[in-house]
Subunit: 373 residues, 2 copies
């Protein structure tokens, strides 16, 4: 946008700030594009719902052909099962306390449930907790493909799978999260490591006599990079909305950003007339989230001003440095912020304002917000 | 704690993880200690409720002698007014949209309301929005005492106050937030700058004919540092709970930490036998928050293991590096994390588990969670 152009009217007049806006048209385009691309590769798509936590978005993903959803917690699984999703993968090495076991047993009565496992102890606890229901819950062994978070190395999957089988669980496959793909220049190498880890782990399990059918991989950065995939399914999450991290990594374009935070300029700094303008907007870390990887250029981006940067963030204030003083918005003007990490922003609000062509068309509850267990 | 000691049983058996625990005894001690210290200095105490967002805690602060509460948003003010708090200061330079103006007018019918202002434009908008109710709302002009967020310099307060008076508002005083006190070695200098800014600003207003009665300052780091205070009131927030930032700044001790996140070890890394242990717990950025100032030693602290560090954080995983391999907790063990910034952690949960001497004694709703506008 040049200075002469008028910015598009993209904030409906009913919106009071700060508020999360979801552009339904861009959202649906993102959902369809990923569904088509994954289908063209012959893979299953199991989107990670921790990004959006919204049943209306899950329904669109399923309608576009997703085989089910990925979630991070039992609480998220409960929300989406209640909304009618009947195939859920909890991609996390749960330690199944008695409370969690009771909830998992109830879930398994109405939905196809798979759970991550990365230790013999965790597998045994899961089997004990599920009791007679153990056979109806599948497990996927988590493999570390280089992110070094949870998961075992590919050569260490067999003992975990054997413990799961002893506990009465159905070992359905392996999964990995190439989280190190979220760094500049890393997606191609991370995608290669991901495929290699899935291959090695599944060969190991086959050699040990396991008949596995699911090899699950894929983050938003790597989901589209793999030719002749070893994986049978991918689990991208962020692609539905995009965010400033994905934008700065070059994994999405500004026109793919479906979620922004509407904010108002509330204060202006006194700065030298020949320098950049600095002002404060009313969207802080309590609506944007405060993730900031070392390589990020700030705490989020402004969608209509690519050269502006958010240089400081507190709970209800973001400090914006705006390169050209003459075009800086006055106190009272509204603008839209792209959060750095959209999964954190969505988890801070109870609902979102849904827009289409600049009109407010709906409100969706973030039904799984805060479901951390 | 030495390796030989058994850690205190501080997580009630009913607790499933991750979960926020508030130790009621420590909380009440923190509330009483701050109230006594502020009273001894002859100041009013107006605690910032954005830290806790919980009416049961506000009631204890008022009972201990707080003159009212500070809040950051109209939404927080609405929650605490509904809970019976009748004197509220919204310490933020609001841009009062028509929606916000209507809510402020309703609030002013039942509570004493003061609002921050730091621009002539914002003051005019506030006066217009309040209309006939303008006279019943006080404003405090925000002064920048060195944090360089919102607020005007002390010599620039008069035009803002004059705009507020023209808009029909009652100019009751000045306020500042010495946020730069949240850095190593800064509290004493920040407290000095805070006093100087309040002094200069209030002298300027007096010279311009304003009869101001409120000079409001004070964060948790600076609240207790000032002798012969220029301020008439202080607004600390974090002191009720403490957090890892305050601990690392030396502003509280481990035994003052009233809020922790109960977590479970879910995964262990394969690491060399002579090195530190590394493991994963089920508390990530969606319950701890992801604030990490440059000077912090990690993404939070473990309350029973001062030498452990949280070296990486994602949404549902924290990676803990534990110095001595032999004492590392096994998969399935529970431990307690001190969040870096407690104001963000509390805003991620719908309620907290209240404990006393290791027993679960209550649950409190985080009634103002997510009230960003």
């Amino acid at each position: 946008m040049t200075n002469q152009e008028t910015p598009a009217v993209t904030i409906p007049t009913e919106i009071d700030t700060p508020e999360i806006l979801v552009d339904r048209d861009i959202l649906e385009r993102n959902i369809d594009r990923m569904a088509s691309a994954v289908r063209a590769k012959g893979l299953s798509l199991r989107p990670h719902a921790k990004t959006h936590k919204i049943p209306e978005i899950a329904a669109r993903q399923i309608a576009a052909g997703a085989s089910g959803l990925t979630v991070a917690t039992i609480g998220e699984a409960e929300v989406f099962a209640a909304a009618g999703v009947n195939d859920l993968f909890i991609a996390y090495p749960l330690w199944v306390s008695p409370q969690k076991a009771a909830r998992l047993r109830r879930l398994a009565e109405t939905a196809q449930i798979a759970v991550g496992v990365d230790s013999a102890a965790g597998a045994a606890m899961l089997g004990t907790g599920l009791g007679k229901a153990a056979g109806s819950v599948s497990v996927l062994v988590e493999v570390d493909s280089g992110h070094h978070r949870s998961g075992v190395s590919p050569e260490a999957v067999v003992p975990v799978a054997e413990a799961a089988a002893r506990a009465g669980l159905t070992v359905a496959g392996v999964f990995t999260f190439p989280g190190h793909s979220y760094a500049p220049g890393m997606p191609i190498e991370a995608a290669r490591q991901e495929q290699q880890a899935l291959q090695q782990a599944s060969e190991g399990l086959a050699a040990a006599g396991f008949d596995i059918t699911r090899r699950s991989g894929g983050s938003t950065p790597t989901a589209m990079l793999t030719e002749n995939s070893v994986a049978t399914e991918v689990r991208p999450g962020v692609y539905v909305f995009g965010d400033a991290q994905q934008l700065e990594l070059g994994r999405c374009a500004v026109e793919d950003i479906a979620l922004t935070v509407a904010a108002t300029v509330v204060s202006h700094h006194e700065t030298p007339a020949d320098g950049p303008a600095r002002f404060i907007i009313d969207a802080g870390s309590k609506i944007l989230g405060s993730d900031r990887p070392a390589w990020a250029s700030g705490f989020g981006r402004l969608i209509d001003q690519p050269d502006a940067r958010i240089t400081a963030l507190s709970e209800h204030h973001a400090t914006v440095e705006w390169p050209e003083r003459g075009t800086a918005p006055a106190i009272g003007q509204q603008l839209r912020v792209i959060p750095n990490h959209v999964c954190l922003a969505i988890n801070l609000v109870d609902d979102v304002a849904v827009t289409s062509r600049g009109e407010l068309v709906d409100r969706w509850a973030v039904a799984a917000r805060g479901k951390n267990k």
